[in-house]
């Protein structure tokens, strides 16, 4: 008797994530015949979509001749790779040694309380993803967090929450603005 596979459902990602797979073409062309191309391909994919969509892995497997199992193995091994979409702003809270002794934990707790998410989670409005990282290399400014390309140093809980509030305020403002623009256009 043949063994029936338990998971007959289509992977959930296939239905929800609609990504433009054509974007992958130049990337595949660049790395296709190179030795040790698996990590650069995944890094390239992530920089295109912000994460590695399951269907992108299928394409990479087909076009570049890589095994999906190998890709999945690598993607789950390294901290850099994500398999799910992330929020618009990634809050990287540093938990390196220097930040730790300067009480980064308390700052993180305050951010978690404010955003109501845990480490690695995204807020329901898709504005913020909270990530704790090992070291951002700005130890003399500890505790440090990084949002986008901007680094904020010498934080305490209050200061960190203020920064996030400010970004949130700007985001909602621009959302409202585009909303009203749309309405007035119509």
């Amino acid at each position: 008797m043949r063994v029936t596979r338990i998971n007959k459902k289509e992977p959930a990602l296939k239905a929800e994530a609609k990504v433009d797979l054509k974007l992958l073409e130049p990337l595949i062309k660049k790395y296709k015949s190179k030795k040790g191309n698996l990590i650069p391909l995944l890094q390239g994919t992530q920089s295109l979509y912000g994460y590695i969509p399951a269907e992108a892995m299928m394409i990479l497997s087909k076009e570049a001749g890589l095994k999906v199992s190998d890709m999945y193995g690598v993607a789950t091994f390294y901290a850099q790779f994500r398999l799910t979409p992330v929020g618009k702003n990634i809050v990287k809270m540093c938990h390196g040694t220097a930040c730790h002794v300067q009480n980064a934990k308390a700052v993180t707790e305050d951010i978690q309380n404010f955003l109501e998410v845990k480490d690695g989670e995204t807020t329901p409005d898709n504005l913020f993803t909270l990530e704790t990282v090992a070291c951002l290399g700005c130890c003399s400014l500890a505790p440090v967090m990084m949002i986008g390309d901007e680094t904020y140093g010498k934080l305490n809980g209050k200061k960190a929450v203020e920064v996030i509030k400010e970004i949130k305020r700007k985001e909602t403002l621009s959302q409202k603005k585009s909303l009203t623009e749309n309405i007035s256009k119509n």
Partner: protein
């Protein structure tokens, strides 16, 4: 009259402190007011505690302005450049006026950092004007043979600066002995130790020195291909390396028949790491370059025999390569003048934690830890009591205050149970709990263990569980012994450096701060008042004004009391969140 130069420090830490905005502002005023000065970029000079830094060099000398923002930049330009009167209150270092930090560089010997903060890292001419690429030219011009190059590196006594401390010359000799036609040279720039950032500073501040070191290394071992394995978390370092590689190719320092040395072809590329601490281990790094999960391989065979793509490979750290050109140019003897009998030369340290002048220092080996902390680092923040210093990151250990006369060399540091490591030096004061620090590092190594060896994978997890329990007041008799037993098993049962050294932070803190462990376990107290679950909050009746702020904020309603009357905390309900303590304006809450 020489033109006045205005130089902005644009390393990662400077940019984080706001140097980018200062640079833009300076550019704006220069153009708006049509001012006559040369605006230049450089990288980190090591005085991170005063970032952003702006140096003005005019005909009278050099003036380093610290903690500059856009507003101060305006003021400095107006007073200093337009009216020729330096703004003394902002100057942190100068060869003209007296300042507090003028002697910051006394006692330092800059070899690996010789150009950091002095040149524009994106300009190869500036590197060349400070003696750059002279070493490889010397080799080509004087026709110095491969064996002689290896001999001078051996004679210099240079040891691996990534932490291992293996003699670099010997490594090169092994790789050279192999007769394979295809060999690889790798630069390990996967600086993963939390609390260490010297490799980043060298790559950002002086990428050409690393390239030149690699070119000399390639000549010595006979490699034609090179790889720089750099953390993806260092985007600026990668950008500047790419610029440097391009410039070096244009000038013929990379490519075919380099400097007309017959048959010497060498080129390199950058491989971005993807965030795994274990990839700092050389065989794991090789696996990662090959596109696999970064899991260490069994040694022997060592990479010098079978490394990348199973070919002989030589791997050195960023700082090691940065030392090489200096040694070739100035001679092995000159380098070996610094340091102790078995550890020659200098070492770069990243001074962080509870220290006044956090930053980057390069000191000759043999200096005491105390001198680094007090003479260069300026002592402890708020003049609190110095408790311990953590060396070597998650693989290292804590050296207590009473051993701070220990000199910095590989063997003396190893004797304390810590390791030299890559050079992170995290200073801790009386408010740092040593059990919590041990737990912190174990949490890190547990997360970063690749999972290949059972002892490392499961053992670190069990140790972490015990440590977490202790910091939460659930410690039991016998826990310390259990931790020690596990520690030695993990050390013996792991394949690579990660597992072999992961228990070090626990072992050293038990060795030097056993009383703190015992206080946590037996008395359920944290002497450093750091572990929240072990604290007791109490209201001092005499000081309490009955303002009700704490009562209103208490999440479990553990505080009772009438307005303008002393309040009281019910210990059975209190969850020790510390909210009342942080909100009280009258210091009337006692923690013990």
């Amino acid at each position: 009259m020489a033109q006045t130069k205005v130089i902005v420090g644009l390393g990662s830490c400077g940019i984080a402190a706001g140097a980018g905005k200062v640079y833009e502002e300076l550019q704006r005023i220069k153009e708006a007011d049509n001012l006559d000065f040369e605006l230049k970029k450089t990288s980190c000079i090591g005085m991170c505690f005063k970032e952003p830094l702006v140096e003005i060099i005019d005909e009278t000398g050099s003036y380093m302005y610290g903690e500059v923002d856009a507003k101060k930049a305006d003021e400095i330009v107006e007073k200093h450049i337009v009216n020729f009167t330096p703004v003394n209150e902002y100057i942190v270092k100068s060869d003209v006026v007296e300042t507090k930090f003028n002697n910051y560089f006394d006692g330092q010997v800059k070899i690996a950092l010789r150009n950091c903060g002095y040149i524009d890292p994106e300009n190869i001419d500036e590197y060349e004007s400070r003696g750059g690429y002279q070493a490889i030219k010397k080799i080509a011009g004087e026709k110095i043979g491969v064996q002689d190059v290896i001999k001078s590196i051996l004679d210099s006594g240079l040891r691996g600066r990534g932490g291992g401390g293996f003699p670099t010359g010997l490594k090169w000799k092994f790789a050279n002995n192999n007769r394979s036609k295809e060999k690889y040279l790798i630069c390990n720039a996967d600086e993963g130790d939390p609390g260490a950032f010297m490799d980043r500073s060298v790559l950002e501040g002086d990428p050409h020195s690393v390239l030149e070191g690699m070119i000399i290394g390639a000549y010595a071992i006979g490699a034609s291909d090179g790889v720089i394995y750099c953390r993806a978390e260092y985007p600026l370092a990668i950008k500047r390396l790419n610029i440097a590689i391009k410039q070096a190719r244009e000038k013929g320092y990379l490519g075919k028949d380099i400097l007309d040395i017959e048959g010497f072809d060498f080129d390199l590329y950058i491989k971005e790491g993807a965030g795994a601490f274990v990839c700092g281990e050389e065989t794991a790094l090789i696996a990662s370059v090959e596109g696999e999960r970064g899991m260490p391989r069994k040694r022997p065979p060592f990479p010098a025999v079978s490394g990348l793509w199973r070919k002989p490979t030589n791997i050195n750290n960023v700082e090691t390569y940065a030392n090489i050109p200096w040694i070739i140019t100035n001679g092995a003897k000159e380098y070996a003048k610094y340091g102790t009998e078995k550890s020659k030369g200098t070492k770069v340290f990243a001074l962080t934690g509870k220290i006044k002048n956090g930053g980057l220092v390069e000191v000759p080996m043999g200096i005491t830890i105390k001198d680094i902390i007090y003479k260069l680092g300026g002592g402890i923040i708020n003049d609190k009591k110095f408790k311990a210093v953590q060396l070597g990151g998650p693989s290292g250990g804590c050296i207590p205050e009473y051993l701070s006369h220990t000199i910095v060399d590989y063997d003396s540091v190893n004797a304390t149970g810590a390791i030299m490591g890559s050079g992170g030096m995290v200073v801790m004061d009386e408010t740092t709990c040593m059990v919590d620090i041990a737990r912190f590092f174990l949490e890190f190594t547990c997360k970063e263990s690749c999972g290949k060896c059972t002892f490392c994978r499961v053992g670190t997890k069990r140790m972490l569980e015990i440590l977490t329990r202790i910091t939460e007041g659930e410690g039991r008799d016998g826990d310390i012994e259990k931790l020690e037993e596990l520690a030695y098993q993990i050390k013996d049962g792991s394949l690579c450096g990660l597992g072999q050294t992961a228990p070090n932070p626990v072992l050293t803190t038990i060795k030097y701060f056993r009383d703190e462990y015992e206080a946590h376990i037996r008395d359920k107290k944290c002497p450093a008042l750091n572990c929240k679950k072990l604290l007791t909050y109490e209201i001092i009746e005499d000081k309490c004004t009955g303002c009700m702020v704490c009562k209103r904020g208490c999440p479990t309603k553990a505080i009772s009391g009438e307005k303008k009357m002393p309040h009281f905390i019910d210990q059975s309900i209190c969850i020790k969140c510390g909210d009342c303590y942080s909100k009280c304006k009258f210091d009337s809450i006692k923690v013990y």
